[in-house]
Symmetry: C2
Subunit: 103 residues, 2 copies
Amino acid sequence: MGTGKIASQVGHAAVLGVEKSRKFNKLWLESWFYEGQPKIVVKVNSLEELMEIQQDAEDLRIPVIIVQDRGLTQIPGGTITCICIGPAPSDIIDKVTSDLKLL
Amino acid sequence: MGTGKIASQVGHAAVLGVEKSRKFNKLWLESWFYEGQPKIVVKVNSLEELMEIQQDAEDLRIPVIIVQDRGLTQIPGGTITCICIGPAPSDIIDKVTSDLKLL
């Protein structure tokens, strides 16, 4: 994916993550907005690794969103491009993401 | 900016754009969600060009968000990194963005 495509996938994840958190944990969402809505974009090496991280996050009761592309440009429809973990307190998110490298 | 930093700026823009549209034009927001919340990431050559496009969009009554970075990483605090135009009907947004190239 090109830079703009990657950015749009992260945009999808961020918007959907906020929408989910509005129902899931409004206090976490409000704290995150108050702190300047920080977003850290990290990378994985495989879909398998991404799905393991998703499971770890869900086990910790962190809201998770999976983004699947519609396949109109660049990649096949249904491709999982990224996930959104949180918003949640950073010490909880760090338990599942702190080993990942920045994109 | 690195790819992850660019993606996070677009994420900020998307989330803030949705929040603004919730108050500004809920019908446009709901239509956009229904259509799969499309996001097109395009680029400009200068801050001056970005600000002209922002003005053009506001003149057309399209909601616009300006993203300024807090300067904790990579770039100085207060740097304008991107804007979000819309959500709005694509034929209206195209009036101000159709000449721009994809990022």
